[in-house]
């Protein structure tokens, strides 16, 4: 085994990690937006809107991410929607994460007891205060673990975006592998890099949890 080429290209790999984290953050942001929007639309009074949201969620959750990103990159241009690799990756990650986020956020919102809201108003809290302290903060606390693990999952999913040559760690790894023919060494090191990245993110997310959201709940 010869790790020389990998060590030589280590800076490129680190920049690839930056690309991965960038895609993950952008994808997660879009996913949360789609998630919140989807939850609001899910409770619409019009049946067709509800049906559309449900169909969207079921469709995304029951098809592979690879097929979704292939579809956006190779098929959509044929109806006039042509998107570059990196935005394609962000949109695919956001749509995919969004479908899961809709279910997660919906669960959190439903976990808020109506009695809590009524009690808030009874205590004289303003509408914005009720929303912030009685609905939002407890809901966030309820969904935080699921949302956090979804974020880490999204970061790992970015590796599939290499199939459309988006800029992230796996794409860089593939290039180094082709130049050096040292497949196992390159992918072994890259796997370790992903592990370290997800470990760092998990620690960071746990920190946010213990500092802001870990208050006692009956």
């Amino acid at each position: 085994m010869d790790f020389g080429p990998v060590i030589e290209s280590f800076p490129r790999l680190l920049w690839g990690c930056v690309g991965t984290l960038g895609l993950a953050l952008a994808g997660m942001a879009l996913a949360i937006v789609i998630g919140i929007g989807g939850v609001v639309l899910r409770d619409s009074r019009r049946a067709i809107v509800r049906w559309l949201v449900i169909s969207f969620v079921e469709l995304i959750r029951n098809t592979p991410f690879l097929v979704q990103i292939y579809f956006i990159f190779f098929a959509l241009p044929f109806v006039g929607i042509r998107i570059n690799p990196t935005p394609t990756a962000i949109i695919a990650l956001g749509v995919n994460g969004g479908a899961y986020a809709i279910e997660i956020i919906r669960g959190g919102v439903q976990s808020i007891n109506k009695g809590q809201v009524e009690a808030g108003y009874a205590l004289g809290l303003r509408k914005s205060q009720v929303f912030r302290l009685v609905i939002l903060k407890p809901a966030l606390r309820a969904i935080y673990p699921s949302l956090a693990s979804q974020f880490i999952l999204l970061t790992l999913t970015t590796s599939i975006a290499s199939a459309v040559a988006a800029y992230e760690l796996t794409s860089v790894a593939k290039q180094i592998e082709n130049d050096s023919f040292r497949s196992f060494e390159v992918y072994g090191v890259v796997t370790l890099l992903y592990f370290i990245m997800s470990w760092i993110m998990m620690t960071f997310l746990n920190l946010i949890w213990s500092r802001c959201l870990n208050y006692p709940v009956k």
Partner: protein, 281 residues
């Protein structure tokens, strides 16, 4: 004897079953490593790495059958050895790893002969010529290497000769998309994701199948020769393939697939290529 009830399964039966499930892939292993022509004849079969989506060199048609120039050459070589053949269709970037890992005995897989590849695998004498080009729609203006920098993007298959050439010749900062194979690269061109692709002399035929008379070769990077690949150090099979190639050149058998797929007469092949040795030493 009364039927076995599930609860009567003894622990050791379960353990045996578990061991078998895990061990089965290992038992079914079929080895493809360190071969000589004699071993191939004894085994009765040669396992050949070939391209699965690069017409007319090697492609799987819609009935699932492997066809192409390299397929015809494989057939001739297998006949020479007196064995049957089995194809393993490979992605561009996977060809050399599949050979060095022992998944195939030999590569007849559009392998252009380059010095850095010669460090990883053993080439045979050349048996077919190829031209590495840049292809784009006729309307796009590309006359020099610098013009490549003005394009929004160029797609190439990872690990291919054209990937090396485009990266070498395009100005710094050109947007080069390295995709996972010939099929993805062609799809990128057809969907308009890129304005040009690095390919070989047959890409334009494939592209023009979808939109007739739209695409043409813009730049010619390199004329290359393809050889069969075997693992480094395996002298006997390398010698056997070289003898075979000399034979089909001399008796005209090479000309038939050449006319059918390359649609050209057989060219003169060079006696040597710098940095690439044709014989194992």
């Amino acid at each position: 004897m009364r039927p076995y009830k599930f609860s009567e399964l003894k622990r050791r039966h379960l353990l045996l079953g578990a061991a078998a499930t895990i061990a089965m892939p290992m038992i079914l292993t079929r080895s493809a490593f360190a071969v000589t022509p004699d071993e191939l004849k004894k085994r009765g079969k040669i396992i050949v790495g070939i391209q699965g989506d690069n017409p007319p060199w090697g492609f799987v048609n819609s009935s699932g059958k492997q066809e192409g120039f390299d397929a015809d050459i494989t057939e001739l070589y297998a006949k020479e050895l007196g064995v049957t053949y089995e194809f393993v269709p490979l992605e561009v970037a996977n060809r050399i790893p599949a050979l060095t890992a022992g998944r195939v005995d030999v590569l007849f897989a559009t392998m252009a002969m380059f010095p850095d590849r010669a460090k990883a695998v053993q080439f045979s004498k050349p048996y077919v010529a190829n031209i590495i080009t840049l292809i784009a729609p006729k309307a796009t203006v590309i006359k020099t290497n610098e013009d490549m920098g003005k394009l929004s993007g160029i797609a190439v298959p990872r690990g291919s000769a054209q990937a090396t050439q485009v990266k070498k010749n395009a100005p710094a900062g050109t947007n080069i998309l390295e995709l996972d194979g010939d099929a993805a690269t062609i799809q990128a061109m057809l969907s308009g994701q890129v304005q040009a692709v690095g390919g070989n002399m047959f890409y334009k035929d494939k592209l023009n199948e979808s939109k007739p008379d739209t695409y043409e070769d813009k730049l010619e990077f390199q004329r290359v020769y393809n050889g069969a690949c075997t693992r480094l150090g395996e002298k006997e099979i390398n010698a056997s393939i070289n003898a075979f190639i000399d034979k089909i050149k001399a008796n005209g058998e090479l000309a038939k697939p050449y006319a059918k797929w390359m649609k050209q007469p057989v060219p003169q092949f060079p006696e040597s290529i710098e940095g690439v040795s044709f014989s194992a030493s």
